[in-house]
């Protein structure tokens, strides 16, 4: 459905060349194509606008117009800029402390419970940890059962208390339980919530205050559209989270939300989720994400 940006630009430059002189005005036309491509990929409206302005200045600085293949060079510059914006290096989790505590947060259905399981699997198999999963979603029907099934799949104990309705109390008790039973990492699954739900946002801030986690991770669906910036910003204002997990990238979404989120909160995307299985978790690579956003 989406035409490759590079092909599109090459084509439009050919047309331009047919008209003789290539000017700054013409570049502005081509930047419209770049902008459109970003919008089709769900990059936020304002961010796409600022971004293309920056790329335009950079392109003019490099005298793109007099090169043999201006389209290719423009795409290259766009790609470089995107990659830089999304953070060039992969950032590791902070797993210091005994136990290290990871708090999961995000909208409904984004993939928190599944990714709690994936993280447990990762910590166990890649980091030599003994993790404990904690069921702090006391609302969603069968949320606790779901985490138990996930825990079983990854061979990790799950701490839950179906009698207790206060997630803060459950989480604190779980950390105590972890200390006494030799678990050196604790992963806290929480209920999905909307950023505008005051009570639920207070709840997750209280959880963070009570736990003082090493990592609070914002779990977000890669298919998210223009609203990604609002949500990422609101959660960040309340939680000042350490990083982001971008889920469901095994689909064919171009995932422009990645750029929007990074640009608006300046927090690293630490992992991407690429499936429903427990090993479908991989480190984030900005350059590959740029390929994807540009449809390459």
């Amino acid at each position: 459905m989406f035409e490759n940006l590079q092909d599109k630009l090459e084509r439009s430059f050919k047309v331009l060349k047919g008209h003789g002189q290539i000017t700054e005005v013409n570049v502005a036309e081509t930047m419209k194509e770049v902008r459109r491509s970003l919008l089709d990929a769900d990059v936020n409206f304002k961010i796409a606008k600022d971004f293309t302005n920056r790329v335009k200045d950079k392109a003019l600085g490099r005298d793109v117009l007099n090169t043999v293949s201006p389209g290719q060079l423009l795409v290259k510059i766009t790609h470089e800029e995107l990659t830089e914006l999304m953070g060039s290096e992969h950032e590791e989790l902070d797993l210091s402390g005994d136990p290290a505590v990871i708090l999961m947060a995000g909208l409904q259905g984004s993939g928190k419970t599944t990714h709690s399981g994936k993280l447990a699997h990762f910590l166990k198999n890649k980091k030599g940890k003994k993790p404990l999963l904690v069921a702090c979603d006391v609302y969603r029907p069968a949320a606790i059962d779901q985490l138990h099934v996930v825990g079983e799949q990854v061979g990790t104990e799950v701490y839950s208390n179906k009698e207790e309705k206060d997630p803060v109390k459950i989480a604190k008790d779980a950390v105590e339980y972890a200390k006494q039973n030799g678990f050196n990492a604790v992963i806290v699954d929480t209920a999905g919530r909307l950023a505008i739900d005051e009570d639920m946002m207070n709840e997750i801030s209280s959880l963070k205050d009570a736990l003082n986690p090493n990592e609070t991770l914002f779990v977000v669906d890669a298919m998210t559209g223009q609203d990604a910036v609002n949500t990422a910003k609101e959660f960040n204002q309340r939680l000042d989270y350490e990083g982001v997990i971008l889920t469901k990238l095994d689909g064919d979404t171009r995932g422009g939300a990645a750029l929007s989120i990074r640009a608006v909160v300046q927090k690293p995307i630490k992992f991407i989720g690429t499936g429903e299985k427990m090993d479908a978790l991989t480190p984030f690579h900005p350059s590959r994400m740029s390929d994807r956003i540009l449809g390459m």
Partner: protein, 287 residues
């Protein structure tokens, strides 16, 4: 506010509102072209008139919701149970919407049966079971890992034996680019026909309002495999506007039937396109 004619600035603002509501560039340009056309015909054109025309043009892209009255949950009257199969990608709100629908149909005096044909996701069966208890309607289940088509078959048979009015079948979330999982839906459909030849009467695609342009591809692929006949748009209680359904409804000629506005049983409404269009131009958005 206070502008007296439709100039470039007004159209730029309009573009921003539409794109930031996830309407998408294609559909946005289509709408703006139509507005421009009408503006050029009628030279003196106020903002008030623009709003009216905008409402007309956008609602014109949304397919008519033929379920009868605009505010009630109704299904066609027929001899065999009316079968609704619910499909969509992961986590959009399928199971929750089924619980809410069951509640509404039951309230309307219908006999409802649920089928837990998501036998894959962790505790998906328990989740639907809790909904069936909340709403107090019967449910047909098998154990996790069993064949979803077989669950659907059992459910339809049981519904027929109970002389039920409505059957709602839950399915596992699946990304539309996974060929095997998509084909499985075709199989579930086929098996249902062995019990009720023209079932399912409705294939409902659930879309999450926070989803961006990928929803178009979702609609395309689910329609290809299951011939989607209606949509439900969930999570409209958040800040996302769900504007992508405008283009989808227009492209694939599928009506939006319901909207989800929360996590409670009561939080489902019949879609009203005028209210929906108004909500796009409601509060000023900040980005």
């Amino acid at each position: 506010a206070g502008k007296s004619k439709v100039d470039d600035e007004v159209l730029d603002d309009l573009e921003e509102i539409l794109v930031t509501s996830d309407v998408g560039v294609d559909t946005t340009l289509k709408i703006i072209d139509r507005i421009e056309e009408r503006v050029s015909k009628d030279k003196y054109f106020g903002t008030e008139e623009l709003n009216k025309i905008l409402r007309e043009e956008i609602s014109g892209l949304l397919e008519e919701n033929n379920s009868g009255s605009e505010t009630e949950f109704v299904i066609p009257q027929q001899d065999a149970p009316y079968v609704i199969m619910v499909v969509g990608v992961n986590g959009v709100g399928k199971t929750t919407t089924i619980g809410k629908l069951a509640y509404q149909f039951k309230k309307a005096g219908k006999k409802v049966v649920l089928g837990a044909a998501d036998t894959f996701r962790a505790a998906a069966i328990d989740q639907l079971k809790i909904w069936s208890e909340r709403v107090d309607v019967p449910i047909v289940t098998q154990k996790m890992g069993s064949d979803p088509a077989s669950v659907a078959f059992d459910t339809l048979q049981s519904a027929q034996a109970q002389d039920a009015d409505v059957v709602i079948i839950d399915t596992a979330g699946r990304l539309h680019n996974k060929v095997n999982l998509m084909n499985e839906l075709g199989k579930i459909k086929k098996v249902m026909k062995k019990v009720i030849p023209d079932a399912p009467h409705e294939v409902m695609l659930v879309l999450d309002a926070s989803t961006g342009q990928n929803a178009i591809e979702q609609a395309k692929q689910f329609t290809r495999v299951t011939e989607v006949t209606g949509m439900a748009l969930t999570k409209l209680d958040g800040t996302a506007k769900g504007g992508v359904v405008i283009g989808i409804s227009d492209l694939f000629k599928i009506p939006v039937r319901y909207i989800g506005v929360g996590e409670r049983m009561e939080d489902l409404q019949v879609f009203n396109k005028y209210e929906f269009v108004d909500s796009l131009f409601g509060e000023e958005q900040e980005a």
